[in-house]
């Protein structure tokens, strides 16, 4: 399944990566070589095989409903790029 420029642009948009025209060309080449390697999978018959999401057949442990965290806002916001009145700031979002 060869990949085209439009696929790369769409993936870049979905992943919110700015990709220049030059970069896009390079990525199309790289990604096609990777997908060519990946496409070996298509040659294997997996009819009826249940997909494996986790390597161990374990099940989810449930946590008791207890409040264990207290505010660490100042610590958490120490590395934040833009904060005011305890809020994270982003360019205006229009709804």
């Amino acid at each position: 399944m060869a990949l085209e420029d439009s696929h790369v642009r769409r993936a870049a948009h979905l992943a919110r990566l700015a990709v220049s025209d030059d970069q896009a060309r390079g990525f199309v080449d790289d990604l096609n070589r990777i997908l060519e390697m990946v496409d070996q999978l298509q040659g294997l018959d997996t009819e009826g095989v249940v997909p494996l999401a986790h390597p161990l057949d374990a099940t989810q442990r449930l946590r008791a409903d207890e409040v264990t965290e207290s505010s660490q806002r100042d610590t958490f916001q120490y590395s934040a790029p833009a904060v005011e009145n305890g809020l994270y700031l982003v360019p205006r979002v229009v709804e």
């Binding site: 769409r10 948009h13 979905l14 919110r16 999401a53 986790h54 374990a58 099940t59 989810q60 442990r61 449930l62 946590r63 008791a64 409903d65 207890e66 409040v67 264990t68 965290e69 505010s71 660490q72 806002r73 958490f76 916001q77 833009a82 005011e84 009145n85 305890g86 809020l87 994270y88 700031l89 982003v90 360019p91 205006r92 979002v93 709804e95």
Partner: protein
């Protein structure tokens, strides 16, 4: 003229009333300072991992059992990937392919007293997002992530509703079930329950569905009706004018009472759902589900039916009194204390509901407790006080004057006088003081006397400061006046 049929499906997001978040130990309390309840996990800091809250699971299962749904043994969390500033990890942990609650059904009550079954497609657990605050921070938007990670149960109906009233009734039924179960506070004003409506129209008799619009932000029972009304009219007009409904997301604006398209220049999203590798499959064994089933309270539909069948209430009264668990519990306590369902129903729906509405209170905030009201009703039923005095007692209890009906009756001397000797003495005094009225009474046509007796009753009641039993006064007066003819 073409006849159109409306087809409606609802997606209801219910915030579950857990103490902590679905995947972290941060508090879910409403109204805290911004970002003080967003812990490392809620913020999606590098390296953090989710652990599932047992209460969120049990609440979802309780809901499923309440709507007679299948509870699959295995459910799986998936990631829904998209970028938005109030979504810290760049994905929402949700359940796409294996939800915790399978197909079910809700019986909703319509205004004409009939009921209609609405099918539930499924319900799944997911995490809530934070909030964007659009006040002006130098042209920036502020992000508060306190709400991020609050557990949500998204309940998805089948497109079984055919008009706005049915949709509102479905939403009320869901509200009633989740509050009965105590799994949500159901507070729509605070966003604890939010609703998206899928609306389409089709020519009457057509089997296939029309193209639907998804209307977001429909967050009150009233808005559901209004948003649907607007959307149905818009779609019909559009089609009749030769246009086509497009599948899109629209936003309901309550201020303008309209829906408008949310489509932007950006291409449609692709959420790239895949199983969340940080969470393992949730496996619910039969014993756990049965344990929860055993703990289910009596639900609104069953309660309504019992109120009609066992207590002899009208369909309307039974519906109103069973609509909320708090209301039903209050009513049942009043009934138990006074021993009479109909009297209890009259008082709860009459005097009490009137007072609550006037002061904009919900039943749990009532200054008059169910026990107090029950005792008050008992005192009316055993003739200790008159109906009129009872209203006075109720008001006094409402104002916090006295701990019980008996306290107020005692303090205000409202005990009904039933001693016929005392009443006779008052009557004799009134007759003696009203010679002109007595003469008129005697001269009047017999059929007009009945009306004229009211004057004497009023005088006697006044003399007794309302404590004389009116029926008794009426009977004795008639006897004594007729003796004068």
């Amino acid at each position: 003229m073409m006849q159109w049929e409306t087809v409606i499906g609802l997606e209801v997001h219910v915030q579950l009333a857990t103490r902590s978040k679905i995947f972290s130990g941060a508090s879910t309390a409403f109204g805290a300072e911004p970002n003080t309840q967003a812990c490392a996990v809620d913020l999606g800091l590098p390296g953090v991992l989710p652990v599932l809250n047992e209460a969120a699971v049990s609440m979802a299962v309780q809901f499923g059992l309440a709507v007679h749904a299948q509870i699959p043994e295995v459910s799986v969390f998936d990631r829904k990937n998209y970028f938005y500033p109030d979504l810290p990890k760049g994905y929402q942990t949700s359940q796409m392919y294996h939800p915790i609650v399978g197909p079910g059904e809700v019986e909703v009550s319509l205004e004409d007293g009939s009921t209609k079954p609405i099918r539930i497609h499924h319900a799944h657990l997911e995490e809530d997002a934070g909030k964007s605050l659009h006040e002006d921070f130098h042209g920036m938007t502020g992000i508060d992530l306190n709400r991020a990670g609050t557990p949500l149960l998204e309940i998805v109906s089948e497109p079984d509703m055919r008009n706005a009233k049915e949709a509102a009734a479905f939403l009320k039924a869901i509200h009633s079930i989740v509050t009965y179960l105590g799994i949500s506070n159901g507070n729509m004003a605070e966003g604890s329950m939010r609703c998206d409506v899928n609306v389409s129209v089709r020519p009457q008799g057509q089997a296939s569905l029309g193209t639907r619009a998804e209307v977001k932000n429909v967050n009150s029972f009233r808005f559901v009706e209004r948003a649907i009304a607007f959307e149905v009219e818009r779609q019909i007009e559009l089609i009749e004018d030769g246009g086509k409904v497009i599948q899109e997301t629209r936003l309901y604006d309550p201020e303008r009472d309209e829906t408008r398209s949310m489509r932007t220049k950006e291409e449609a999203n692709d959420y790239r759902y895949f199983p969340c590798p940080d969470l393992l499959p949730v496996v619910l064994d039969q014993a756990y589900v049965e344990h929860l089933r055993g703990q289910l309270p009596e639900l609104p539909a069953a309660k309504r039916e019992r109120f009609e069948r066992e207590l002899g209430l009208s369909a309307y009264d039974a519906g109103v009194l069973s609509a909320s668990r708090d209301m039903a519990e209050y009513f049942e306590e009043v009934k138990t204390v006074c021993g009479d369902a109909k009297q209890a129903a009259n008082w709860v729906q009459g005097e009490l509901s009137g007072a609550l509405n006037r002061e904009n209170l919900v039943i749990t905030q009532s200054p008059v407790s169910a026990r107090q009201l029950g005792e008050l009703v008992s005192r009316v039923m055993d003739d200790t006080i008159s109906g009129k005095a009872a209203k006075q007692v109720f008001q006094a209890l409402w104002n916090g004057q006295g701990h019980s009906a008996d306290d107020v009756i005692e303090a205000q001397g409202l005990k009904q006088v039933t001693d016929s000797g005392a009443i006779e003495a008052m009557i004799d005094q009134v007759i003696a003081d009203s010679p002109a009225q007595v003469a008129q009474y005697c001269d009047a046509e017999p059929e007009k006397r009945g009306k004229m007796i009211g004057y004497f009753v009023g005088q006697v009641m006044k003399a007794s400061r309302g404590t004389a039993n009116p029926q008794q006064v009426n009977g004795l007066l008639k006897e004594k006046l007729d003796a004068l003819l």
